[in-house]
């Protein structure tokens, strides 16, 4: 023991102790501080998936449009909470008799947040970016592939000419594919807010939140909040806890419905249970020999008590569906009970198929609805004598690679949340490898039908074909479960667009 040691030792401990006491004091003081009186009207939304970029055209994720669409960026036409087409930047539009030329009349009042007027040439520039910028996602470019030319004869008019009539194109224009950017900021969309909506985004705290601020010069009905924050939670329980602790005004979509009982106090909370475009689809790999047999697929469908599945997996929320369509789709046909639950018949059908069933590999993304459904399905298939193994794959990377790209699976479960996505079954290269020429012909015919009535009839037939062939098992429609403080009004229960639409939202 030397003198040096003595001094070093003591002073180090003293300093450490002092630092600790100061820190704890600070923490305690802060814990007791009351929140300062709020003069700005703030609104906080808890959400689960964070955008990958602030330029929503560069990422296929739905998290970007959730914040940006209709709130920061506007489109020529929009879809309202009931799934109806409505004017937005365009006051009205005309369609030529052959269904190929669309003329939009832009609202003369419309301006961007920067003060620039929304003109026909701004639409042309935005479409140029969407259709030809290398950064734009493949999905968007595919949606706009039918467009031949976009021209602006004058400031108040923009004309789209299509290569062929398309029933889907106008619908796509209500979403990301129809966004109109401020032409002065269009090159900087990843770093600057460049829209005409009631809010402008002002901060992105990666891993934590996106902050929107009121656009004081908004051309339409003035926004009701000064500041709107989207907070992101990867953990469903953390999201619920924040709501229960009073930190949030809204949970945009509950990821753990079994937790809803915690929000049953109606004097504090309102729970909205609406429709989405999400079909929770139990997809078969049609390249697996055993699953090529239609009777095997039918037997599997019959073995699953989907009503009980919804009850255990999603707390009874959500709706039974029987094909690749949801009730808010205009062409929806109710096939929910077309193949009813029947264990005895499932066993008989399986036996009559003569297929020696191998152990099936259920490989699902590690997402709550999928892993829980997988556990239910594994137990149900065991009842009719089919052995299974369950893998949970990190989503998106591992699932995309092994199931989606390499087809290394027998059964998988994914919620297909894209709107009107029944045509995915017409693509034999898609990860189910479902190859039914009759269905493919039907879908191709439908899109080019000259009248809406003919289109609706074709699409109804298409749904029946899928159900009859047991092309997949549609477990349930993912419900849009929203929890709000009971002072919040004006939220649409349905999530029929990608947008978390703030325009009608208010707080009493």
């Amino acid at each position: 023991m030397t003198h040096t040691t003595k001094v070093e030792g003591r002073s180090r401990w003293q300093r450490l102790l002092l630092a600790g006491l100061v820190a704890m004091g600070l923490l305690t003081a802060a814990a007791c501080t009351q929140q300062p009186t709020v003069t700005v009207k703030k609104f906080v939304i808890g959400a689960s998936a964070e955008p990958a970029s602030m330029d929503v055209t560069t990422s296929p994720s739905a998290a970007g449009p959730q914040v940006m669409l209709y709130n920061v960026y506007e489109t020529l036409v929009r879809i309202d909470g009931d799934g109806k087409m409505r004017p937005m930047l365009a006051q009205s539009w005309d369609i030529s008799a052959d269904g190929r030329v669309y003329t939009f009349h832009i609202n003369p009042a419309a301006t961007f947040a920067s003060g620039t007027k929304v003109t026909g040439s701004a639409v042309v520039k935005s479409q140029d970016k969407l259709r030809s910028d290398a950064a734009t996602t493949t999905v968007l470019r595919t949606q706009l592939a039918d467009v031949a030319t976009v021209t602006a004869p004058d400031d108040a008019t923009v004309v789209f000419t299509l290569k062929n009539p398309s029933q889907n194109w106008l619908y796509y224009m209500t979403s990301t594919a129809g966004i109109v950017f401020d032409p002065t900021l269009i090159g900087e969309a990843a770093t600057k807010s460049a829209g005409s909506g009631p809010y402008a985004w002002t901060a992105w705290n990666k891993g934590s939140s996106v902050v929107l601020t009121k656009n004081a010069k908004y051309w339409g009905t003035a926004p009701r909040f000064d500041e709107v924050t989207f907070r992101y939670f990867t953990d469903a329980n953390a999201l619920n806890a924040a709501m229960l602790a009073g930190d949030l005004d809204v949970i945009s979509n509950v990821q753990a419905p079994e937790a809803l009982s915690q929000f049953s106090d109606t004097s504090k909370y309102t729970v909205l249970d609406g429709a989405t475009n999400g079909e929770v689809t139990m997809g078969f790999n049609h390249q697996s020999p055993a699953l090529q047999n239609q009777n095997v697929r039918k037997a599997i469908t019959m073995a699953i008590d989907r009503a009980a599945l919804i009850k255990t997996v999603w707390a009874g929320k959500g709706q039974l569906i029987g094909s690749m369509a949801v009730p808010t789709d205009p062409y929806y046909v109710d096939l929910a009970n077309a193949v009813p639950f029947n264990v005895a018949e499932a066993k008989a059908l399986l036996a009559s198929s003569g297929v020696a069933m191998p152990t099936l590999r259920i490989r699902v993304p590690a997402l709550a609805y999928a892993t829980k459904s997988a556990q239910f399905v594994a137990s149900a298939l065991n009842e009719i004598g089919i052995k299974t193994t369950v893998d949970e794959l990190p989503f998106p990377a591992t699932w995309l690679d092994q199931v989606y790209k390499n087809g290394d699976y027998d059964i998988t479960i994914v919620a297909h949340v894209e709107p009107r996505d029944i045509n995915k079954f017409a693509d034999p290269t898609y990860y189910w490898h479902y190859n039914n020429p009759a269905f493919q012909a039907l879908i191709a015919k439908a899109d080019t039908e000259p009248t809406e009535a003919a289109w609706l009839a074709d699409m109804a037939d298409a749904q029946k074909v899928l159900t009859d062939d047991a092309a997949a098992v549609w477990l349930f429609m993912l419900p849009n479960l929203v929890v709000t403080k009971n002072t919040v009004t004006g939220l649409s229960p349905n999530a029929v667009t990608l947008s978390f639409d703030l325009t009608g939202v208010a707080r009493r």
Partner: protein, 270 residues
């Protein structure tokens, strides 16, 4: 007091082992079969601790969970001991540079905590009991190497080893005849403590969704599934949480008890 620690540790560990053994042949209910109508029953009869969201008996799941817990602990600790102990003995017996290389390599591995390693493994090979066990095992190697080296240094300095060396006994012979039997108690203590760490690490991994796959019940997984009900039905997370805590407590106490009970001379080097 020393005896008390050892006895409580032994009782807790034995109950975990017994539960796991019984669950091999009998559980009150099927631990995997979903019974939708029985979901989320409160504790009572016949479901003593109630049922989970799938209508599965919680007692049955806890019993099967004990198997997984022991499996993870045994395999992870075995990996760590089988690799770590020979390395530690080698480092303790060997010349300066051998010792230096082994210990520095073990420092590098030590900088990869089990969970960090497991996150990487789970991403590479998919989360499973095996990636969890491998990651926990590898990350625990340094702890065994250190203890084995310290014990070996101590034994090598003893008079009887000096005597054996002067008689020309080979290094291998000394390691087998003198070092191993003498450090075995130390390794036993370390194994018990490492077992506790392994249980906690597996629970953490399951909580992050990187552990054992369903439908195999594990305590960590049960805790994760129950956390969404924490504020409405807290009992759901109490049971698996208690099971984890009691098992970890048991192995830690057993380790401490053993250490105090065994040759007090060895205390200095551990």
């Amino acid at each position: 007091m020393k005896r008390f620690t050892l006895v409580v540790g032994l009782v807790l560990v034995c109950s975990v082992v017994l539960t796991a053994l019984v669950s091999l042949v009998w559980t009150p209910f099927d631990p995997i079969r979903v019974v939708a109508a029985d979901a989320l029953l409160k504790p009572g009869w016949p479901h003593l601790l109630g049922t989970d969201a799938f209508g599965i008996d919680i007692v049955s799941r806890l019993m099967i969970g004990a198997q997984t817990t022991l499996q993870v602990g045994i395999i992870a600790v075995s990996i760590a001991a089988v690799v770590g102990v020979p390395l530690g003995v080698l480092a303790g017996q060997g010349s300066g540079w051998v010792s230096e290389v082994v210990m520095r390599a073990s420092d590098v591995v030590y900088a990869f905590p089990a969970l960090l390693l497991a996150i990487l493994f789970a991403a590479a090979f998919g989360g499973s009991t095996w990636t969890a066990m491998a990651a926990i095992g590898i990350a625990t190697i340094p702890a065994f190497a250190r203890v084995a080296r310290a014990g070996t240094l101590h034994v090598m300095a003893s008079d009887y080893v000096l005597a054996a060396r002067s008689c020309g006994t080979s290094r291998m012979g000394i390691a087998v005849r003198h070092v191993m039997p003498n450090i075995a108690p130390l390794i036993g203590v370390q194994a018990s403590v490492a077992f506790a760490t392994a249980i906690l690490a597996e629970a953490g991994l399951s909580f992050l969704g990187l552990g054992t796959r369903p439908p195999t019940p594990t305590w960590g997984r049960m805790l994760r599934d129950a956390q969404n009900l924490l504020f409405g039905d807290p009992l759901q997370s109490l049971w698996p949480g208690l099971a984890i805590a009691l098992a970890v407590l048991g192995f830690n106490l057993l380790g401490d008890g053993l250490r105090d009970y065994l040759d007090p001379q060895l205390r200095e080097v551990s």
